[in-house]
Amino acid sequence: MTENVLTYMTFFPLAGMAAVLLLPSKSHNLIRWVAALFTVPPLLFAVWLYRNFDPANPGLQFVEKIPWIPAYNIDYFIGVDGVSISMVLLTALLCFLCIFASWGIEKGVKGYFALFLLLDTGMMGVFVALDFFLFYIFWELMLLPMYFLIGVWGGPRREYAAIKFFLYTLFGSVLMLLAILALYFSSEPHTFDMTKLIAQSGKYGTEPLTIWPFDQWRWGFQHIVWMALFIGFAIKIPAFPFHTWLPDAHVEAPTAISVILAGVLLKMGTYGILRVNFPMLPQATADLAYYFLGALGAWNIIYGALCAMAQKDLKKLVAYSSVSHMGYVMLGMATFTPQGISGAVLQMFNHGTITGMLFLLVGVIYDRAHHRDIDGFGGLAAVMPVYTGVTALAFFASMGLPGLSGFISEVLVLLGAWQKYPILSILGASGVVLTAGYFLWTIQRVYLGPTNEKYKTLPEINGRELFTLIPLGIIVIILGVYPHAILDLLRSSLDQINQIVIPHLS
């Protein structure tokens, strides 16, 4: 049992999908409860993994490896290190909570939950896969249900949003596939095994190529592969200028899907860079990190915050805040310092929980008022005090208020960044002021002031909604007070990644 725990965890939701498909499509509640039931074991497995993971061991743990397509050296190869285990934990938790956030879905209930569970398996798979081929399969597997979940169950402009999302990510996937094949064919013997590709990382050429237009760029094979992978991942993060799918997708997606999208999918971009680009292409990473991770990250922070400030739609504002906050992850990764890189991964986790809360909270008000126009509310604090209290917690966590989780990761990132690029650290830190600006302005317009007559009778947040929010709220507080609950997992794995790249820094 324990040796296959990752497999069970990954494919349990898939079994759930099968179970849901077998149920009569009329019995909505049965479908919901069955779907909920099938997200519980992965969460329990993830907690079990968290407790049994040996943080002192920087290597991969709970590894399973079975030959799959021997002709091409493709294996079913999965395992976790500190980084992936934190992401698996996040995924399992958010998927479990999001089932309950999806309770209000009335259209095509069976299809919705079936696709949701398929998405769950895809996401888990991405975080545990250690074979590049398998990784790519899970990556694409996740795209498909996401497309339908936005395109069918979304808002009025769902088709535009879904197609935009699909085209952006497909474009990224193609580049990624090319890069994967390039790595496959330049490894000897040809392999998709990530650990072997990492072991051979020294072999990928760095001598400048003379193919136009690269002859002036001093880029080698490694740099081109790095860039192809980077664009594929950057679209997911999403890094400027590949971010415009995000606001549209978020605005149109149903609440739970927004949570998954922001909470888990965005992390795959930065996770991929950390898992693939860093150890496999260390020289290119060392050469390109400043521009494409550091400077672009700082730009993301400021640009995302400014765009958020200009939004009139509450959900769009939260979406842009994600663009801004993922910038911290990029900036932290680019520092190659213990503080910066740990801060980056912690920020991935924290952003998942905090933004998860934010989207759930937007969903609560949308379900009641049927719009999300920031200027269309006012004085909700008097009508829904509990709801307002939880919102304030999430907003201030997102603002990086000390004592809550967001502060720890942001301060670690900026502290790390200062040691390498003080100017970028200053730029990133100034984003904190902008963030306070747009969140406080939002609190003021939506929750404070005279109560809007139209919404005098809105019902207070209900038990089911609180059930989805409180676990996240507790995590936000605990990680602010005791961040080592996650940081201890990451330390040795990230040290190892750092040690691969650092020798290549000039």
């Binding site: 197609i163 935009k164 085209l167 952006y168 200028p241 971010h243 415009t244 799918w245 606001p247 640009y303 400014l306 765009c307 958020a308 400030m309 200009a310 939004q311 310092t337 213990p338 503080q339 740990s342 004085g379 604090a381 008097a382 005090p385 201030f396 208020l401 000390p402 004592g403 502060f407 720890i408 301060v411 670690l412 900026l414 502290l415 200062w418 040691q419 003080p422 650290s425 200053i426 830190a429 100034s430 904190v432 002021v433 902008l434 306070a436 600006g437 406080l440 302005w441 003021q444 929750y447 404070l448 002031g449 005279p450 109560t451 007070v481 005791y482 961040p483 080592h484 940081l487 330390r491």
Partner: protein
């Protein structure tokens, strides 16, 4: 020093108010409904009282130690430990933080009690006390945290509570706007503060001693000397960054703009947060890091100049305000300026002394004004008050004592502490006589605007409407008792810090282990006496002018307000138009950038994305046409041609073997010729 004494009660000084906040924050609404407001008061006041008693115990414990060994530490658990960064959740106290915790829990406790009377009719009573306790917790964390990061948690925590309490009556957008302004302006300061932390850590890390713990920074501070970044000394830059934080929290130029607006909050909040404690955090921080500031003379000069400028600048604004609380707010900004002036001439002891005495008399003034506002049914305009001394004797007498103290009347607390600052501004190695002249001028202005307020409120005819006049009353005991105690403090607090000519300061002696030996007698005693007499004389002049204008009415205020065509008066009255300037440039500028960003996303990036999608669609449509008309035509053509060709070639298939053989022979010959000719 290297092995501080471990204790395990310091944590409770800090954490008890947090427990109170949690109890009232989570259960308060229910408690208030089911049990009553007294339960809320109990959960709010008891923790602060116990904290105060524990603080006294800490004081006694410190007194029992030899001066140079006076500090205690309480370590809880490692908070952040990554690479060379090691930060514990640990509380420590030394003589400096002891002063602060006594002020915070002592004056804070009195204000809690006062609030039970002042806020009694408010239906969000529980929410008020939850935030007041949370504030006390954050402030205690700020002063007892043993490292910069923990201090920063308190630093932003007090900002959060300040925001929540300024906007406490959130139904009115005037209040919420003031809250936002306070938080965002403070965030600008905090931005500087964190950069200061990063710079200190980075600089020490370069030397192999990366740390943010105060005692360790002090130990290794000498290693930072000589290091440069961007051509500036690291110590200078780090202290300047941190000072940006101080200007935010302590409302100094250029980040002073939030404090006057902060008066929108309930008056006890103004007394506790925006006068006695939180706003002094910047002074405390500079004093805490005195070893860095003293090592950066350029920064010290900036601190002194900013402090002096703020003190004068806001005193002039206070001259022209009519709102009872606004006068006090600008007076607070001005007095904080004096504290920074002291810190800027490296007289940290004098800064902390004034911080403490100011906490008493300014809290007393604010609570007194609260009592007045309470009696006036919410009216804050001094032009509608007057003659209140008959209706509210306790408020009148306590207010009078506090006014005497802030004006620097001899033998009151304010006299001793302000005089100490002025003397240091004159005689310290970092000082200049000009600072003294400006400081004395400010003292004259202070006396004028405080007595102006005093006469306008308590003397003359009552200018309120008859309804208000009929309801004038002295405040309840819960409000009067703190006033009396604070008034006593406004006099007595000074006596522990007597100037050297009166036998030396116990207070300076107490702080000596922190700040090093007191600069004793750097000028002749006779000079100190002369300067003291001059400054008292200038203050008396300020009093006399106010007396003539607002008590005797022998001198019309218009004679001054119409000077220079009324330009000066308008400048003072409108706060030099700083708010309008900031609004236009910073708020407007940021919003403009925000709109530009959103525009780029919508019209440039999405134009390209949608454009490429449309181009693709067009190409596929064109492809479709091409397929239908060109490719298919070709395919059909080829099929037709093949068919026709087949039809024609059918005739070749004659069945004649010879014919076939000739053809094969011909083909082979042709192939051989070609091969020989071209491939050999």
């Amino acid at each position: 020093m290297d092995h501080p004494i471990q204790t395990d009660y310091l944590r409770w000084i800090v954490l008890l108010p947090l427990l109170g906040a949690a109890a009232n924050g989570l259960l308060g609404a229910t408690l208030q409904k089911k049990i009553g407001k007294w339960a809320i008061s109990l959960f709010a006041c008891a923790p602060v009282l116990i904290s105060f008693l524990l603080s006294l115990k800490a004081l006694l414990d410190l007194l029992a130690l030899k001066p140079e060994e006076r500090f205690l530490i309480d370590r809880l658990y490692p908070w952040l430990s990554l690479g060379s960064l090691h930060v514990d959740v640990a509380f420590w106290i030394d003589p400096l933080s002891t002063v602060m915790i006594l002020v915070v829990t002592g004056i804070g406790g009195l204000i809690h009690v006062y609030s039970t009377g002042y806020m009694h009719e408010d239906k969000s009573y529980w929410r008020y006390f939850a935030f007041l306790n949370l504030f006390t917790f954050a402030m205690l964390l700020l002063v007892t945290g043993d490292n910069l990061l923990l201090m920063f948690v308190g630093w932003e925590g007090v900002g959060l509570c300040s925001y929540a309490l300024i906007g406490f009556w959130y139904h009115d957008h005037v209040n919420t706007r003031a809250g936002n302004k306070a938080f965002i302006v403070n965030r600008v300061g905090d931005f500087g503060f964190v950069l200061g932390i990063f710079l200190i850590f980075w600089s020490l890390d370069q030397q192999g001693h990366g740390t943010v713990v105060f005692r360790e920074i002090e130990k290794f501070a000498s290693l930072m000397k000589g290091q440069e970044i961007w051509g500036v000394g690291v110590v200078t830059l780090a202290t300047l960054f941190l000072f940006i934080g101080a200007t935010g929290k302590s409302a100094q130029i250029p980040l002073h703009v939030w404090l006057p607006d902060a008066m929108q909050g309930p008056t006890p909040v103004s007394a506790l947060i925006h006068a006695a404690t939180m706003v002094t955090a910047g002074v405390y921080m500079v004093s805490r890091l005195h070893f860095l500031y003293s090592a950066a003379p350029e920064t010290l000069m900036v601190v002194a100049v900013v402090g002096m400028a703020t003190a004068l600048f806001s005193a002039t604004i206070a001259l022209a305000q009519n709102d009872i609380k606004r006068v006090l707010a600008y007076s607070t900004v001005s007095q904080l300026g004096y504290m920074f002036l002291a810190a800027g001439v490296a007289a940290y002891g004098a800064a902390i002394f004034h911080l403490m005495t100011h906490a008493f008399f300014k809290a007393c003034l604010f609570l007194g004004s609260g009592s007045v506002i309470h009696a006036m049914g919410g009216e804050q305009d001094m032009r509608k008050m007057g003659g209140l001394r008959h209706a509210m004797p306790y408020t009148f007498w306590t207010f009078a004592i506090a006014v005497l103290a802030i004006a620097g009347t001899p033998l009151t607390a304010g006299f001793f502490s302000k005089d100490e600052i002025l003397w240091q501004a004159f005689s310290s190695p970092h000082s200049s006589p000009l600072l003294w002249v400006l400081g004395v001028t400010g003292a004259g202005l202070t006396a004028f605007y405080m007595f102006r307020q005093f006469f306008l409120v308590f003397f003359g005819e009552c200018r309120a409407d008859s309804h208000t006049r009929a309801h004038l009353h002295e405040s309840p005991k819960a409000m009067v008792m703190p006033l009396v105690l604070l008034a006593i403090g406004s006099i007595a607090a000074g006596w522990i810090g007597l100037p050297s000519i009166f036998g030396g300061s116990r207070f300076a002696e107490w702080l000596e282990p922190v700040f090093g030996a007191h600069h004793e007698a750097h000028g002749p005693a006779a000079l100190e006496e002369i300067l003291m007499v001059v400054s008292v004389g200038v203050a008396a002049l300020g009093f006399y002018l106010a007396y003539l204008m607002y008590y005797k009415s022998r001198l019309a205020p218009e004679r001054f307000s119409s000077l220079a065509g009324g330009l000066l008066y308008r400048l003072f009255y409108n706060k030099y138009y700083i708010d309008e300037i900031y609004q236009f440039f910073f708020v407007g500028g940021t919003l403009l950038l925000a709109r530009i960003g959103a525009w780029i996303d919508r019209y440039i990036i999405d134009f390209i994305v949608d454009g490429s999608a449309k181009t693709t669609a067009f190409i596929s449509w064109f492809n479709g046409l091409f397929d239908n008309h060109v490719v298919d035509w070709l395919v059909n053509k080829i099929a037709d041609t093949t068919f026709e060709a087949g039809d024609k070639f059918r005739k070749v298939q004659t069945g004649n073997i010879n014919g076939y053989l000739y053809v094969i022979l011909g083909a082979v010959l042709l192939a051989m010729i070609v091969k020989l000719r071209y491939w050999s």
